[in-house]
């Protein structure tokens, strides 16, 4: 019965380490920085949609 509408997703790299650290996503029309934490409901839904082939996470831009 849950509906979370995700229209874009892109990894954001840590500007110090260069490693992917969060996903910048548009969720229900709001831009959010989502942690790579399975306990986070938005991250869980992003990964569910990725596994279902409904969403692709874009690679991170080069850190500034």
């Amino acid at each position: 019965m849950e509906q979370i509408n995700i229209t874009s997703a892109q990894y954001i790299a840590n500007v110090i380490t260069g490693e992917n650290s969060v996903i910048k996503a548009t969720i229900d029309g709001i831009t959010m920085s989502v942690p790579l934490d399975p306990a986070n409901r938005h991250y869980a839904e992003i990964m569910r949609q990725v596994e279902a082939g409904e969403l692709t996470i874009q690679e991170a831009d080069t850190p500034e």
Binding site: V15, M32, A39
Partner: protein, 378 residues
Amino acid sequence: MSEIQVGQINSTDGSTAITTGADGYVSFAKTQIGGRRNLIINGAMQVAQRGTSATGFTSTGFRTCDRFRTSLFSLGTWNEEQSTDAPDEFASSFKVTCTSPTGTLAAGDFGYIRYMFEGNELQGLAYGTSSAKAMTLSFWVKSNKTGSASVQLLQNDNSSKNISPSYTISSADTWEYKTISIPADTAGSIDNDNGPAVSLIWWLHSGTTFTGGSNQTTWATYDATDSNASNLGVGATANDYFQITGVQLEVGSVATPFEHRSFGEELQLCKRYFHRWGGDNTMGGHPMFNGGGNWATTVYHFPVEMRGGPSASITNNGMFYYENGGTRSSSPSSPSISENTKQYIRFDMNSLAASATQGYAGGLYFGSTDYVDLDAEL
């Protein structure tokens, strides 16, 4: 040794003073007995960090009173508020109003109010063992609708095993107090973790996918049609409304008086799941400036450890204030967040003015409309 066996003791005016349950739990009608009985956070609807009203929405979301979410699917347009209309003992209630109903109700359409528990909050219930405990749900409710309604508890850790008892709203536009017995579950254990464990749902209205079954009064295998077997139908017509407050879920077979907690205590409990950083015309952070580029960063440590890493949404950008050769200057930032943990976020300000790239220390200023929402709700 003598003993008496009694279910109720009355005061001299005939009113109930003490009620005893078959399982040994006791309720004093007008005495605030020991604290920490209520498993619900913000049951008196005191805390509304996101705002006190929201209008014109059509979808699911957390909008006003903390921890309570309105869930909607194709059920028209609604308003939500932290209302000051409440029973005498309370200052606030959670109110939803349908402003524009959906046309033809499809089978899968629904609307309900939901509260979700973490698994680690419910270990004391001893579910899945022979020591499993019964619970009692109590709440105040008010609606323009009368008749039978459904409330539901769903065990997320056990394939949505559920109980869906009914209650009755007898009089329109009148606050009524309801108590509902929740039997123990000796068969389904609840994971001891920070994930979603049990949903508590007040049904507003739904299509046939969620009606037509039976109100379950014992824990039963999930059947969607049992969910809202007694459909109150809030939202079938314009201006239908539904309000609740004084929500208490406690161990034992009798409802005790509502456990009032202070605003500060409830606020701290709520911040585990959501809080707002900024929006208060203050220096919210004190970053050190990176002289190597038009970039600065600060770390914000949360007032309480959150349930998990929060999703962070930025409303407006804030300003970066810095000293440059004795002159205070400012630069709008283009912020981003590059670390989210359950203890802190790192807030980066990008594309700062060239004059700011001098290696000076500066501060992050949040105006009244600049803030970051941190959401670790279930």
